[in-house]
């Protein structure tokens, strides 16, 4: 058994144990975002897909690289975006029912206020 292989195996097993330890603490409420976050993380296979390009010099190589790049990048981008979208919805308290109060500070809020009292540029 080569040193490289031994190192790789050691890393794999330790990472597996770290994974069990860390994931075990994630509450059930977050299991869907967790799965989607790990989804994004296994998109790291994009690195493998890109490295195909280092030796790919014929049609077969290019096709495999192309398909792998599509798969992996869809995995990475989609995984992160959808996880972020989900986590944004988790709130400790229900959102404030009076948006007017909040809208007094902030550019977007001011415009909303302007619209409301009829001095907005759009006039709607």
């Amino acid at each position: 058994m080569s040193t490289a292989l031994l190192t790789d195996l050691t890393i794999f097993i330790l990472a597996l144990l770290v994974g069990i330890e860390v994931i075990g603490k994630v509450p059930a409420t977050l299991h869907t975002p967790l799965m989607s976050a790990t989804n994004a993380i296994h998109g790291i296979v994009l690195v493998g897909a890109l490295l195909i390009g280092v030796t790919a010099h014929n049609v077969v190589g290019y096709i495999i690289a192309f398909v792998a790049a599509i798969f992996a990048s869809a995995n990475v981008v989609g995984g992160y975006v959808v996880t972020g979208r989900m986590l944004k919805m988790f709130r400790r308290k229900a959102p404030e029912p009076q948006p007017e109060v909040e809208s007094l500070n902030g550019h977007k809020g001011l415009r909303g206020l302007a619209d409301k009292i009829g001095i907005g540029r759009t006039g709607s």
Binding site: F12, G19, L34, A40, I41, V47, V54, F71, A72
Partner: protein, 470 residues
Amino acid sequence: MSGFTGYIQLVYVLTAALFVVGLHLMNSPATARRGNQVALTGMVIAVIATFILMIHAGTVTTTGWIVLLTGGLIGSAIGLYAARSVQMTAMPQLVSAFNSVGGGAAALVAIYGYYDAESRGGGVLGTTTVFTVLDVLIGSVTFSGSIIAAGKLQGFIPSQPLIFKGSRLINIGLAVVAVGTGAFLFSTASLPAMLVLVLAALAFGVMMVLPIGGADMPVVISLLNAFTGTAVAMAGFVIGNWALIVAGALVGASGGILTKLMADAMNRSLANIIVGGFGTGDSAVAVAAAADAHVRSIAADDAAIQLAYASKVIIVPGYGLAAAQAQHGVAELASLLEDRGIEVSYAIHPVAGRMPGHMNVLLAEANVPYPLLKEMDEINPEFARTDVALVIGANDVTNPAARRPGNEISGMPILDVDQAKSIIVVKRSMGHGYAGLENELYYDPKTSMYFADAKKAMAELTAAVKTLVG
């Protein structure tokens, strides 16, 4: 390892560390978003390092760059569109789709590695072959299996278990072919054999998921998630990349834990789920006691009175709630009750949705604050001091028959809804749950059945409570 690639490998170690920290931050909803960003940082660093490595190697052809960048852009666009447009009810399909492409990409990395080595005439590459074979095998099974799972969830493949005569024989046959070819590859370098391995593994993935029913999807998705992780780790072994090995191991651990949690929540072994069981037609033995008991039905006004004058209400949502798109209606009713000073919480069974934690996301989307979402072990002791348990679209997970031996769901952990002082069940009809079992809860003298579509029922209840107290 030369100096330069050594430094790049160090960057990959940093990436791996950021992944671990990111996942660690997911242990609380308050820090989870930061966790996702930390992991994303790790990913960006890894991709930049990889580009530097590729430029340094100087062997990537112009065509190669065009192919990779075009592919990357197309994939990113698809991923972005899917992530932005997906409905939260369709999350399981999307996760399945990402499992599929992740597994597919991992398999392609190994397939290319093999093809490249073979075309150089170097023959088999010693120990690398073990991981190559495992990567191709697991990656391909995940790729096709996840497509079938997504199809079942989306509804373009029937969600009931598809079992035909001899399907198990075909499965065994495919497994033998795949493993046999894999073993053959250890001793002989052969591209056609690799192709046979890929095809057999793809077919096996399809055959593995087809016989699994809709209710078992939380387990299947978790399992396929673990598979993808493992495939990516194997790809890491193939190309000697630590970031892939660590990331794959983390995902494998996560998928494995979730698979076990889901299987435990249904009190079924993994083997039992894979082989198929629920709803296959040969198991619909009704509970005898149910036949002579009768059911009490209730109208909106009476249900509203019970709710409005309660001091503690627990809402028990099931997938039927999401199917009827009633999440927002429930949240509205709940906040109305809370405004009256009633203590409202939600009891979430681990398999309430179509994937682990699915129901929590659906309720979070409906603006339900996450501290109100209680896990089974946390909420079960509270039912005894609850005035009204409002069950919406949940069935088997509330059936007290699970506490007795000798039926389909015996031993399955359930929500102790029957301990509440009174129970209102919102349900369209007296139909059975996935286990094909009569729910004894419905015949409990404390239970009133409110027969209506969940969305309509929530609107009616909210209106009735408003007239009552307004």
